[in-house]
């Protein structure tokens, strides 16, 4: 009987002042957490396949670089004009390093870099270019397209919005 009453009270609470305050706190916390810190995202596009598939869901953890800097192999969310749409790309080089592609293989400072996440064939050629100070070089994992059709390049670190949670 007492158990039934508790269950009933849980699903049909009384609208007291305390209840309304609790609901407001939970709603505000959820808004702040999922709106500003751990933002749900839906992946649209094929540039990060097969690592992140088109239509997949994830969360953008905004605190990922609060006390750290992006490093090679990190997947990052690059911000555009606002927070609703971001680019999901992988960091392949950091400031000061030179980036080059030869027949699809990545070279950083003249050294070949292993990229096990690139599963589809790639035949890109890109002459060496140095990453500016305060920037990182980002590319998608899906390079099975002409180099002109893939949106990649160096971007200021201040544009990095966060990291995917998984």
């Amino acid at each position: 009987m007492a158990g039934n009453h508790k269950v009933r009270k849980f699903f049909f609470p009384s609208f007291t002042g305390k209840f309304l305050i609790r609901v407001s706190i939970v709603a505000l916390s959820a808004y702040l957490f999922f709106g500003r810190i751990c933002v749900p995202i839906r992946i649209q596009g094929f540039s990060m396949e097969p690592t992140y598939r088109n239509g997949g869901v994830n969360f953008c953890w905004r605190l990922g670089y609060t006390f750290a800097q992006p490093k090679r192999y990190d997947v990052v969310a690059v911000g555009l004009a606002g927070r609703k749409v971001m680019l999901l790309k992988r960091v392949i080089a950091v400031e000061g390093e030179s980036v080059e592609f030869r027949e699809g293989k990545l070279f950083v400072d003249g050294q070949g870099i292993d990229e096990p996440y690139v599963r589809y064939p790639c035949t890109w050629n890109l002459s060496p270019r140095r990453v500016d100070p305060g920037c990182v070089y980002v590319v998608g994992d899906n390079r099975n397209m002409p180099i002109e059709n893939h949106y990649f390049g160096q971007t200021p670190i201040r544009r990095i919005m966060g990291v995917p949670l998984w």
């Binding site: 004009a81 927070r83 609703k84 749409v85 980002v138 949106y151 971007t155």
Partner: protein, 166 residues
Amino acid sequence: MVKIKSLTILLLVLIVGTCSVLYLFPSEEKKIKKQFALLSQWASKDQEENIFALVERGKRIVTLFDENCGLKVPPYSIDGRYTREEIAAYAARARSQFSRLNLEFYDLNISFPEEGLARVSLTGRLTGESPGKENVNEIRELQCVLKKIEGKWLFSEFEMVEVLKK
């Protein structure tokens, strides 16, 4: 009882009055967002169009633009001013390349540096399908300038911001 009834009626009148004012006298931001919504609507297509429909849509699109509109796209070395007729021709040509096309705008940040001038920073997304079933999914950050001419906000300049620099 009478008091509650009067208060309810007063509240309803206030709500209806506020909604009417907001609908009949939209703010300048709303007017500008409406222009972007119209551009998105008229540029998009979800099926093949005949030549007359293409031209008709092109004519509608140019009514949103100033007599002379500046276009700056650094990655493709496009930098110039175009008349309405040129924009109509380019729009019709560009739309004819796709069997299905969707243009959307997100994260509009509107500012008014001076009277009759608006600067908008936003994210534009173009998705579509070519007749050869090739998918297109392009996202770019844009900077636009609109001028208020004869009570209407018209696009005066479009600039693509280079977020990722190859």
